[in-house]
Structures are given as structure tokens and as C-alpha cells.
Symmetry: C2
């Protein structure tokens, strides 16, 4: 079981510590995503060097390939992928709800994975917990209903009812096990549903809470509002995890409103398409302007890619499709995210979070920075 | 300029040292290939960790992209790709001779690079030297005519005449420059042509010699014969480089006959297609048999991939097309090659090379090892 201690608060923004049997995690924290028990293009050594303290892995993908029993036989996810730090797994629900062919009932979700033609699979709250137990994650998520965006009030309300009922069943299925089970607040963009869901979940007295149903196309302003409304409904002394978020500007506003944990594929996915983050905004490494640019990707960054290579070299690697481009890009983007979290944490501890946020956003353009 | 010293000899097999301004290289040595100033999927740190002491880069590819002037402006290849050790560049000839559309004359080779539609380029001995000077390699190769296999005697003879004439022009073009220029012996499978070419080249008193025109489809036995016949024609106190070779069994026979330097894309290319080397032979990581195999890729290997991960994990990475599969596979294969060279060197120094070769080949099957 994890323990969480709040170290400092600045406005609603919080600096804390997750104490786990696999090491300490300082919050706010960003969890790089190792979908298939691998963060795309990065070795565990490179992840540790970039400052990663905790990873996320996807239950859906690992269930289908290589299968949770194989991972269990390998000694669990940590041994399988050689990551000694804590790991959080999702429930698999998000991926299942993203599939075109699925049937949702109170029992769970029946779906047809594109990877396995014609075979239907059933994901229930109990099965999601069982798979995560086999994977051996330190922190696990219950199956919830992640409603699409936009969703009308009645559809979102049904999602909340399923989410609450499924959480009760997840708690039963998890009884006697060590991993930390989160509760996930759903409710789409509707404050009354978020409030209802949060109230029900808090009564179940879980060790940690998450806000789900975001990063589904609602946009920055709607995301900010959901977090602003929902975060205060969650117990202050428990960790708060905002699922699947996001861009740097999303992370800033979420931390501002009191969230502690984040995960997102953006750093590694953007790295594969040559989009890299800098303090001045994103840059597209394939742009002709970088051909002759002998500065590092981000002059303020101290990661392996920035300390050893130039934009001109990255431009060359990306334009010639060298694997090393993606590798160095991933190292940089993940390092950038982890550094941003550390900078936010330091600002919270030093009670200057708002100034930090303002200064960061003044330099950082959400869109592409000028070469 | 490099200096070469022979440390030990066992039969024809030699253990030596290349002393360069960028560090010491122990021979026999394998040079991982960084075609486009990057070894596919490996960072310079990982290359150094795998034991690489010297790299090879391809003049043809770097000439076309990003262009030798850009690399020069970046401070040369070493700075551009952040590799502090010595670098050898080829002349670009091998790639040009592999193109379907080309015209060979005494002037040089006119060709149509597939990368640049409709534009003809001319590669002359002088241009090859000029490009390599701009790239800033420590060891450079003259333009030679690499005849295809099979080639009749008259075609091979023309190749030898071009090779000798072009080498004279290369020496002129290189006058006053520091890099070590090799002479390349051509002559296909014909001992008389090899002998004629070697005799002419040795009179030009170059600091190092190479055997070219191999690894063009002649097969192991023909390769072994070419080396056995040609190596003794080269001065014993100069380094001998066998270009583009090869598989482990090729390296063993070439070292047996007195060759010192090697390069080949096989370790990294095979890694991309999930074929990994072990002391018992090659294995295809995608085979179903490895799904449940929790041993390392090669039990006798101490590389990062073998010390930290299992075949089951590699199987999973390769079957799900995770970039990390290629990365770990490249780390292993390159480490395997470099370890083989170190083992050969040790056996030569200890005067037991023939026993080592016999024992290695007894364990190692040229084809796929049993899972």
C-alpha cells in the first residue's frame, strides 16, 4: 500500500510524497506511459536518467498481448520490463470504450478487439482487477465508464451509475490484495454528476482518487473547469490523479487546482512525429529552419539529447527516418515533462506557484514556437 | 595519422593496436556502421557501453543528406554525431556501384541517385577525397571500382586498372591532409588480378590496406579464398581492413588469415528483423518458442540487453513492433560482435587462436539455432 503525505500547499497547488514499497515519488508527478510494458523507444536506464519515478502501463494491451498470465509467470510487470520503481496500471476500460464495436451493460463491456478478429471478449470490474493483480502493479484502477465527448446528461449519468456500481464490485474483488485501488470520478462536463459521483466515491473511503473522462476532446477550457470543480470534492489528504492529461498548459492548470498525478502518451507520441517541446513552445524538428541550427533542442534543458546533440543533428535524423531521432526525441520530451513537474513542485514548496505558472506561460506558446 | 603496432601473432592471425589521436583501437576490431552518422537505434553512450572503439560512416549517404558541408559546419562527423572515438569513412563507391543507373569511365562514376530524381551526380576520386575531408574522418578510403559478382576476368581487370589509377589521383588529392588513406585491393575472385593490384598498391607505400570487392554474393568459401590469397600480399606491419564483412564465421576465417579490421551492417540490420546472435547460432526472436523463455538472449553474454531482459520480453517487444525491441536487439548484436573480436584477440595473444576458432564453430551453427 502507498502512503501519501502533503509537504506543502500554495493556493490549491500541492507538493506531496507518495511513499511506496518500490521507492518515493514526489508529487506533482508525471508518469511516462509504457503501453505494452515499454515506453516507446526508451530503455529503463534512459527513463531513470530522464528523472522518471513511476510508470504507467496499459491493462488492455497487456491483456491481449502477451497476456497477463505470461507477465505473471515472468515475475510481474516490474521484472518483465525491468523497471524497479512503482507502476500504475489502468483498468483497460478507456481503450475498450474507444472501440467502435462494444456493448455496455451493468455486467461490464463486451467488445471485439481489432487484434483478434471475430472473438468477443468481456471486460467486467472483477476481470479488470484480476488482470491487474496478475500484472502486479503497485497502483490499480477500477473499471469505469468513460463517456465520450460530447455526451448528453442522461448518457453521462448512466456512466456515473455504472462507475459507482463497478467500483463497489472492484473493491470486493480487490479485498485482501496489497495494491492501491483508486476511485475514479466520472460525470463528463456536468458539475452535478461530478459532485454526485465524488460524494459516492468518498464514502467508499479509497486511499486515492482519480478524475477520469477527460482528454476526450473537451478542450483546455472545459478540462480546466472540470478539474476546478471536481478536485475540491476529493479528500485533501489523498493523492489525486488526472487521467490521460495532457499538454504542458493542461498540467499547469491541473496542478493549480490541486491535482497530483498525471499520465499521457503525448511526450513519446509527439517524439515519433518529430514534435519536440521547448520552454518557448513546441518545435517541429523536420522544419528546414533547423537544418543549420547548432543549438540544442531546448537551450534550458539538460537532458541527454540536449546536452549531447544539436537541432541540426536531430533534423538530420528525423528527415532520414533514423530510429535514433525518435529515441532522442522521446528522451527529450519525457525529460521536458519531468523537469516541468519538478519545477512546479519547487515553486509550490517556495510558495511562488502562480508566478512560476505566469512566467512559464509567458514564454511558452501552446502552438508551434518560431524557429 | 594513425600508427599501427603488432602485439602478437598466432599463425597468420594478428593482435595489434591502432594508435590514433582519438584513442587506442585494439585489433582485430569490428566497426559498427553508422551509415547516416547514426548506428541504427543506438546512442553513442550505448555504443561505448557495448565496447565499440571505432565507427564507420557512409560517404555516399552523408554526401546526399545532410551534405558534407553541413557536417563540416557542424564541426565534423565526430561533433555532429557526438562520437569521440575514431571514425572511418568509405569512399561512397560501393553504394554508387550498387545503383542500377551509372556510367563508369576513367574519370569516375556518373550516377542517378534514387533520392534525387533526374539529377545526375559525378563521383570522382578527387571528389570522394574532398567529401571525406569535409566530413573529417580519421581514416578514409579512395574511390575504387567494386566489380559485381560474378564478374568475368576482363571486367574485373578493368576494375583493377581503374582502382589503381584512381588511387594515384586520390593520393594527390589527399596530399597535405592528416587522415589515414587506405589502398584497396580489388580483383574479384582472380588471384592473378588480386596479386597485380596488391603489387601496384604496395609500391605506393600507403599506411594501411584494405581488401574490397567482397561481400558481394561470392559466399563464404570464395571469400575465405580471396582473403587467404590476398592478405599475405599486403605488408605485415600495416593494418589490413576487410571491407563489408560479415557473418561471425566470415570474421573468424578472415582473422585466421591475418585481417585486422572489419565493418558490416549485419548486427544492426539483423536486429531490425528480430534475428539475434548467440554462441549457439542465430535465433529469430519472433518464434513462438521464445514466448515463455525467461533466459537471456544469450546466456554467455553480459550486454545490457542480456543482463536486464529475457527472451520472453524481447519476443513481446518484437511481436508488438515496439521500437525498444530493435534498440535492445542492436545493443545485443553489436555487443556480440565486439565480444567475439575481443575473444579472438585474447586467443591470439595467448597463442590458442586455432583452438578458439574450432571451439566457437563447434558451438555455433551458421544457420538458426534450436530454440
Amino acid at each position: 500500500m502507498i502512503r501519501f503525505s502533503l509537504e506543502s500547499q500554495d493556493g490549491q497547488a500541492r507538493a506531496g510524497r507518495l511513499i511506496t514499497s518500490r521507492g518515493l515519488v514526489e508529487t506533482p508527478v508525471f508518469m511516462p506511459v509504457g503501453t505494452r510494458a515499454a515506453v516507446r523507444g526508451m530503455t529503463p536506464d534512459q527513463l531513470a536518467q530522464a528523472g522518471a519515478e513511476i510508470l504507467l502501463a496499459n491493462t488492455y494491451h497487456l491483456w491481449l498481448q502477451p497476456g497477463e498470465r505470461l507477465v505473471e509467470k515472468a515475475g510481474g510487470l516490474h521484472t518483465f520490463m525491468n523497471w524497479g520503481g512503482p507502476i500504475l496500471t489502468d483498468s483497460g476500460g478507456f481503450q475498450v470504450f474507444s472501440l467502435p464495436k462494444k456493448t455496455i451493460s451493468s455486467e461490464g463491456v463486451r467488445f471485439y478487439p481489432p487484434e483478434r478478429k471475430s472473438e468477443a471478449l468481456l471486460l467486467t470490474p472483477e476481470r479488470a482487477i484480476e488482470i491487474q493483480h496478475a500484472l502486479g502493479a503497485d497502483m490499480i484502477m477500477p473499471l469505469d465508464e468513460c463517456t465520450p465527448h460530447p455526451a448528453d446528461h442522461s448518457l453521462a449519468a448512466r456512466g456515473v451509475e455504472h462507475t459507482i456500481a463497478w467500483l463497489r464490485r472492484s473493491i470486493e474483488a480487490h479485498r485482501g490484495h496489497d495494491a492501491t485501488l483508486f476511485g475514479i470520478v466520472q460525470g463528463s462536463v456536468y458539475p452535478d454528476l461530478r459532485s454526485h459521483c465524488a460524494t459516492e466515491l468518498v464514502q467508499l473511503d479509497l486511499p486515492a482518487y482519480a478524475i477520469g473522462g477527460v482528454s476526450v476532446g473537451e478542450g483546455h477550457a472545459a478540462l480546466a473547469k472540470i478539474v476546478r470543480v471536481t478536485a475540491p470534492m476529493l479528500p485533501g489528504e489523498r493523492p489525486r490523479y488526472l487521467m490521460g492529461v495532457g499538454l504542458p498548459e493542461d498540467l499547469l492548470v491541473a496542478v493549480q487546482h490541486g491535482m497530483d498525478m498525471f499520465d499521457c502518451v503525448i511526450p513519446t507520441r509527439y517524439a515519433r512525429s518529430a514534435t519536440l517541446f521547448t520552454r518557448r513552445g513546441r518545435i517541429r524538428m523536420t522544419r528546414r529552419a533547423y537544418r543549420n541550427d547548432f543549438y540544442p533542442i531546448d537551450v534550458s534543458c539538460t537532458c541527454y539529447a540536449c546536452s549531447q546533440f544539436t537541432r541540426a543533428y536531430l533534423h538530420h535524423l528525423y528527415t532520414t527516418n533514423e530510429i535514433l531521432g525518435t529515441v532522442l526525441g522521446a528522451i527529450h520530451n519525457v525529460s521536458f515533462y519531468l523537469r516541468l513537474m519538478r519545477d512546479m513542485r519547487e515553486a509550490i514548496v517556495e510558495k511562488r506557484f502562480e508566478r512560476f505558472r505566469g512566467e512559464f506561460l509567458a514564454d511558452y506558446t501552446g502552438s508551434e514556437a518560431k524557429p
